[in-house]
């Protein structure tokens, strides 16, 4: 019997759930209201502020952790949600699509952040 991947995916799911519960509402207010509306009259300053902030390695790590863990969390719930909805595909293909997709997007995010550094 092959070894279960459950501990790994559940850890990522759990960490993502925690980080989402604590940070997602504020992140959504920031990108949904603060950036486009509250600071609407000075978009150049928003650009300057964001560039400066995301040049900091700790800020980069924060954003990477938020996006990556949220993606793994969402992938886990959507993967199991497919089963709940009786939508089935080949197991390997479904695993690659959901967890692989989250991994690819995390990689893209890391590359983009490195370019800002």
């Amino acid at each position: 019997m092959s070894r279960s991947n459950e501990p790994i995916v559940w850890s990522l799911f759990g960490a993502g759930g925690m980080i989402l519960a604590f940070l997602a509402p504020a992140m959504i207010v920031i990108t949904g209201f603060l950036l486009p509306f509250y600071f609407a009259d000075r978009p150049q300053d928003v650009y300057r502020g964001m560039s400066q902030f995301l040049a900091n390695p700790f800020a980069q790590l924060f954003l990477l952790a938020f996006i990556a863990l949220s993606l793994y969390h969402a992938a886990h719930r959507l993967y199991h949600g497919m089963h709940d909805l009786h939508v089935h595909g080949p197991r390997i293909a479904m695993l690659l699509l959901f967890y692989g997709g989250a991994t690819v997007l995390t990689g893209i995010c890391a590359i983009l952040l490195l370019r800002l550094g």
């Binding site: 989402l20 940070l23 928003v46 300057r48 954003l63 959507l78 983009l112």
Partner: protein, 138 residues
Amino acid sequence: MTAKPYIQRQPAGWWLKSSAYRRYMLREATALPIFLYCLLLISGLYQLTQGEAAFLDWLQVLRSPWVIALHVVAFAAALFHAWTWIELVPKILVVHTSRFTLSPQLIKRVHQGGALACFVGLIGLAVLLLTRATTGAG
């Protein structure tokens, strides 16, 4: 002759039958707007690497009706997720030793307080940071 195993067929709409199942599916469905929101963040990050004009375009996109709608739905989903998630924390985080026990209620309240503090703190930090970039020495 071997007996066939009994397989109970579950109709695909099983979760519509009870309010607890519907609530469960709604909770799981919060992952969808969260996922779309992550894509939006990654697109903003990409635009930021492309320079000022590209990032200003992205800020403009944030003001379009569909993206506002996504933010509203994602915000509701994030709140529902946060509420249900922290409701479950005391079931997983059980602190019970020979010397002391933390009550589940206390563990839940501390997490709720922490989440509220993070909400206020992160928004405050963002306002401070962007205001400083505005008035600032740059």
